[in-house]
Symmetry: C2
Subunit: 427 residues, 2 copies
Amino acid sequence: MALSGAIAKRNAEIKRAAGKVARLVMKFGGTSVADIDRIRHVARHIKREWDAGHDVAVVVSAMSGETNRLVALTAECGVTVDNAEYDVVVAAGEQVTTGLLAIILQGMGVPARSWAGWQIPILTSEDHARARIAEIDTAPLEKGWKAREVAIVPGFQGIGPDGRVTTLGRGGSDTSAVGLAAALGAECDIYTDVDGVYTTDPRLVSEARKLDKISYEEMLELASQGAKVLQTRSVEMAMVHGVPLRVLLSFADPLKPEPGTLVCKEDEIVEKQVVSGIAYSRDEAKITLLGVADEPGVASRIFGALADASVNVDMIVQNISEDGRVTDLTFTVGKADLERAVAAVESNKIKCRELLSQTGVAKVSVVGIGMRSHAGVAQKMFETLAKKDINIQVISTSEIKISVLINSDQTQEAVQALHEAYELETA
Amino acid sequence: MALSGAIAKRNAEIKRAAGKVARLVMKFGGTSVADIDRIRHVARHIKREWDAGHDVAVVVSAMSGETNRLVALTAECGVTVDNAEYDVVVAAGEQVTTGLLAIILQGMGVPARSWAGWQIPILTSEDHARARIAEIDTAPLEKGWKAREVAIVPGFQGIGPDGRVTTLGRGGSDTSAVGLAAALGAECDIYTDVDGVYTTDPRLVSEARKLDKISYEEMLELASQGAKVLQTRSVEMAMVHGVPLRVLLSFADPLKPEPGTLVCKEDEIVEKQVVSGIAYSRDEAKITLLGVADEPGVASRIFGALADASVNVDMIVQNISEDGRVTDLTFTVGKADLERAVAAVESNKIKCRELLSQTGVAKVSVVGIGMRSHAGVAQKMFETLAKKDINIQVISTSEIKISVLINSDQTQEAVQALHEAYELETA
């Protein structure tokens, strides 16, 4: 992705922390701009940064509920919906927010103007409804900055090679913000309805602690494991382009800003935790194929069939074949995809003795970059769960993560016990 | 206005009537596209014309109530609203309709695509919120026509010289449709919630009769006198560019289309009526200045002051000065402008003995191109009103119109009596 030729030249650092004038992208989601009062609140956050002398670009979502309303209208129009026309309809939501925010900022004495995706332009791929940002021309926004003008940009949308409006898919506003920050060489503040990233879900574990910093890698594992603070795509993009990403509470007092959580490079985190957080997801389902032929090409046929059916497979475990002829294969898919997954396996005539499928399972993951250099992390996890009599059905690991599949009923007990075992309640 | 270089070359005629393949612009207002069912109904009208082999461009308004909702949002944002940002917000309404209609047409097997004002482009003046169409590039739409594609265009919007979205002011979708028809050399069908233009308001006079044809000039007088079927600006534009304009009922059965009323050149109307219709407006107010100095420059000072205050003055009557030193001046303004008008006169220190202002007055107008060649039309009007004991307060005439100001309570009686006197119930 070539976000801008300028990006290589400007290495974004966290300038504001050092009291310097910085380039800043601020992103506000749908609940943050749900009505005019909230947009006014958002404007005060922006004014604070503008008053401090920073160059500010703002990325906004559609007002809460608006995108759903527009999507429902398109669905009412027909069974098959032309994605290019879908984009024309749903992109209207963000457009409205940009104009309203500009009017409010102007009323506060802050020069501001809205930009449509096609005006900047934010060039994307041609995949309507799920486009990817290809290039952003930052010159128009930077020209506005010279006149101390705040740029307001609609999230989620751009313009394709065909000159038509594209959208980046649901939740694409985070991606817009990070993409814009990358192109501008700016820091990126994501204002949301939580005040930061926690060691685990505070609704599940009251001792959950807000993290001051977390690495991109850890954030990615947490996000894809079910912590819904940031879009996975946006974290990936921030990591690739080295954009410092901060998660902040939108509803906080604009005059007393809280630091939130900074998502940054590993080497900017001085005190590395062995384990940073515990993630969980209850929307899992497990499929086991018993007695699959243990021969080359079988796995490829199975997972090819699932990919063709657009089923996202997560954990995969294959046992060693005892007799060298048949083996057992277990994998997990999203609960919503289970039926489709089973149908895909069956219709592709994958030979096996038996196909077992099961819902009611949850995935619990322990995430931490310190794991790389510390032994015994997995052992502590298994020990902790064993003590609580929690049976582990599947295990899967990556460099900075250990995930286990357990009975869904035991999710809270498992997360609480692990949070305590790794002493996450204390910094 | 240079709508297109091509316009001079193609003189629009009413080709469809002759069974030829024609270029056609169809316009549907907000109530016609109020929900998905109605948009589907609209699509059937379009399919009928497309099935007949015509090249079709469609202009749509925002879904009923949507523009009001968006305008209200901007008003909530502040006392002063940047018109450029206002345009960004309110233009979203039409954008949504274009996408939805395209999806529905495609579902019916009719190739269709939506165009934004900036994509075509529809170039306008830079006056945000009340822009005027400057030029329309018809090449992209004509290219689509070659592939038998229906072009769907948002009414009310365009793009200004600054590259930003503009809107044409409320009700601008009629103007968009006529502008597009002029540029394309097309006929223009305006689908609305009435089935045509009537000799007078059918709610007031049950004998009111639908007209098959009416001249642009008559339509203009009727429209500006209070018949709200078509936007005055759009009729003016149709007249200047010779665009045949048809007013049709949107809710009619798409398979049994009704002819509606054709607004056309005078010479296309074979059977010219002396009087075509009676218009009325109850939203009038009267101001009389008694004892104004009868000297050069006084009228200019008075009406200059009113123009500066953006007060639209309608009828103006000045009596002959008896002694050559002072005179009486009467004029009418919209009821909503009365306070502002009085303030403008008083603050500009216009010398007069007394200023009288009065609401509760109505204007009733008799309109007809045949008036030019027929004497006695005014006489019949005065006689008819006199018989009913209706006092005429002010008289004003144009070549094809006689207007009188009367007591507002007598409006219905006056309109009924005049409708009968000119025998408008019979063709």
